[in-house]
Amino acid sequence: MSLFVQQLINGLFIGSVYGLFALGYTLVFGVLDILNMAHAAVFTLAGLGALWLVQSLGMTIWLAFPLAVLGAGLLGLLINACAFMPLRNRPDTYFSGLISSIALSIIFESVALGLFGARTVRFPQGTVPVNIWQFGGITITSLQVGIVLTAAILMVLLTQFLKRSRVGKAIRAVAENDRAARLLGINVNGIIALTFFISSALGGAAGILFGLYFDSLSPDMGRSIELKGLAVIVLGGMGSIPGAILGGLAFGLSEVLTVAITGTSNMRDAVAFTLLFTILLLRPSGILGRGRVREI
């Protein structure tokens, strides 16, 4: 029994990182109906950036984390300004934005490769103090608890921000109908830029947590999560915030349980994506999707 619970907990940790990552994806999609393919590159750059702050500038992780998250947010502004803004008024803006963000993600990955090298790197020992707690056969480390808490706090903050704050309401108004929002005097371009900032900051936070949890960072780490992030938002329902969180947890659990049951990681992705396929057959708009048919 404790074995099963431990595996559920393992799934919860990796799932909360997936959820946090997918949250950024889904936020941009919900507001703009476009996919930002450079999201995974921000995930990588923020992780490596935090490592650089800790290792080269000798910062503590408590300072490096918010700084790297802020840096990731600024990258989001750059993505918006370079890959999306110039194309916004063109016909076919969805498709061309998708392509230009892929280009930007390749540039970001090359920058990471140039700055940090191709090697797998790690946070120095003791970056985060790790205490190991045992409860009746179940083991949890303070690092894991910290990761789930950080992810949960960021998710709650985002939801409340969108629900209650004036700016959050403006974001939702733009998501609903940008023309109407503009008529109401909302600065639509500013709101879009802000959305990119928040989205990328969340993606960056996921990257740092991922790096801390697995203690391994490399310029290609974004690739392993890129497809999963997409699958998670499709699973949860495109543009749905609780859907992204739920989808992330479902994905993490399915991965861990598959490995636990089969004793090998070969079937891990196969099972996760089969699950995705099945859910799409049964509920084409995802678990919490709004049921509205989109045209891309």
Partner: protein
């Protein structure tokens, strides 16, 4: 008459080109960098000792990016473009499985200095290695651990999509079975995996006396640190294959690496004067002590040079091959070195353990 006039005078000294195929990027990069340092040190020593007119080595280093595809490109470049007399490498067995076939076909001798998977030298009579195979090192490790720690049941964890880690697993499994040790659970992972907690959780639930792991250094450090984070007690030692044989493991896994047991081909603490000289020269040149991969690369260059000296002419590929096959009881930093009839390495292995952040000889 004409024939005699036209005959070229043989050069008093000839330079022999050796191509080094090492992984400087990708998963094998931790090994490739140190191999290059070891090889370069040997080449410098040899070329200085050869003097102005002696037989010198001209090395050409290329990166195979830890992939067979890039390995093929480099082999083709060395064989057809640079026309090297001998190839040393590639770093990974997985790459060697593919590239060595090209060299065999073209009749170019290959000396592997780190491949330990089964079947590499079976590719053909031009393929040699100075790295002891897992089939020699692993049974020695298992027997010694059983004798000293009295383990009776273990769990196995290995990478099942790589020739080297899979070969290590097979060697472990047969050694464990022969030693009468029960295997409680077998778990696998794939290259590039970062999360090993599901497998380790399954293993933990079985309460093994030890965990036997066949993995490359990148994954090895992740496995070791995640095992300790999952609360697998330090009294359960982790026993690794050749991939664990790197100071990178100690550096990356830190405290968690304490107690890890690894079978090794090279004893860093050996009192052999050649070995002492090597360790001192290496440490002085690169500001860090050598590991087994540097030692095997260093020894490989000396073994190759010995064959080149005995070959006639010294840059002839076939002659070098024949000279390599003749090597018996050559004094190297690995000890008295010979090639077996199957062109595999033959010398005495050791078992090491991580203690106080260093590899020391196990059980001493």
């Amino acid at each position: 008459m004409f024939g005699i006039l036209c005959q070229t005078v043989p050069a008093s000294a000839k330079d022999v080109k050796i191509g080094f195929v090492l992984s400087m990027t990708g998963g094998g990069a931790v090994y490739g960098a140190t191999q290059k340092n070891g090889a370069q040190l040997a080449i410098d020593e040899i070329n200085v000792a050869a003097g102005k007119d002696g037989l010198k080595i001209v090395p050409i280093f290329e990166d195979d990016a830890s992939t067979p595809q890039q390995g093929i490109n480099v082999f083709n470049k060395f064989i057809k473009g640079d026309k090297v007399s001998l190839i040393i490498g590639p770093t990974l067995s997985n790459t060697a499985q593919v590239t060595d076939r090209i060299a065999q076909q073209e009749g170019v001798p290959v000396l592997a200095v780190s491949n330990t998977a089964k079947g590499i030298t079976d590719i053909g009579d031009y393929i040699f290695r100075d790295s002891l195979t897992e089939a020699v090192v692993i049974p020695n490790t298992i027997n010694m651990v059983k004798e000293k720690l009295h383990i009776s049941k273990v769990a196995l964890l290995y990478g099942n999509d790589d020739a080297f880690t899979k070969g290590g697993y097979e060697a472990f499994k047969s050694a464990l079975t022969k030693a009468g040790i029960e295997i409680l659970s077998e778990q696998t992972f794939a290259k590039g995996d970062r999360d090993f907690s599901p497998q380790l959780t399954q293993i933990k639930s079985k309460n093994p006396d030890a965990i036997v792991v066949s993995a490359l250094a990148e994954e090895a450090s992740g496995i070791v640190s995640q095992a300790r984070q999952l609360g697998i007690s330090k009294s359960v030692p982790i026993i690794g294959g050749n991939g664990f044989n790197s100071p990178a493991l100690i550096k990356n896994a830190g405290e968690a690496a304490e107690g890890v047991i690894v079978g090794a081909a090279w004893n860093s603490a050996s009192a052999n004067p050649l070995n002492r000289k090597f360790v001192e020269a290496f440490t002085a040149k690169y500001n860090s002590p050598p590991d087994q991969f540097a030692a095997q690369a260093y020894a490989g260059v000396y073994i190759a040079y010995h064959a080149i000296k005995n070959a006639s002419p010294p840059d002839n590929r076939k002659a070098i091959r024949d000279a390599l096959a003749q090597i018996k009881n050559l004094d190297t930093i690995l000890g008295k070195f010979s090639f077996t009839a199957n062109r595999d390495a033959d010398h005495t292995p050791v078992v090491q353990q991580v203690k106080g952040g260093k590899f020391v000889v196990f059980g001493e």
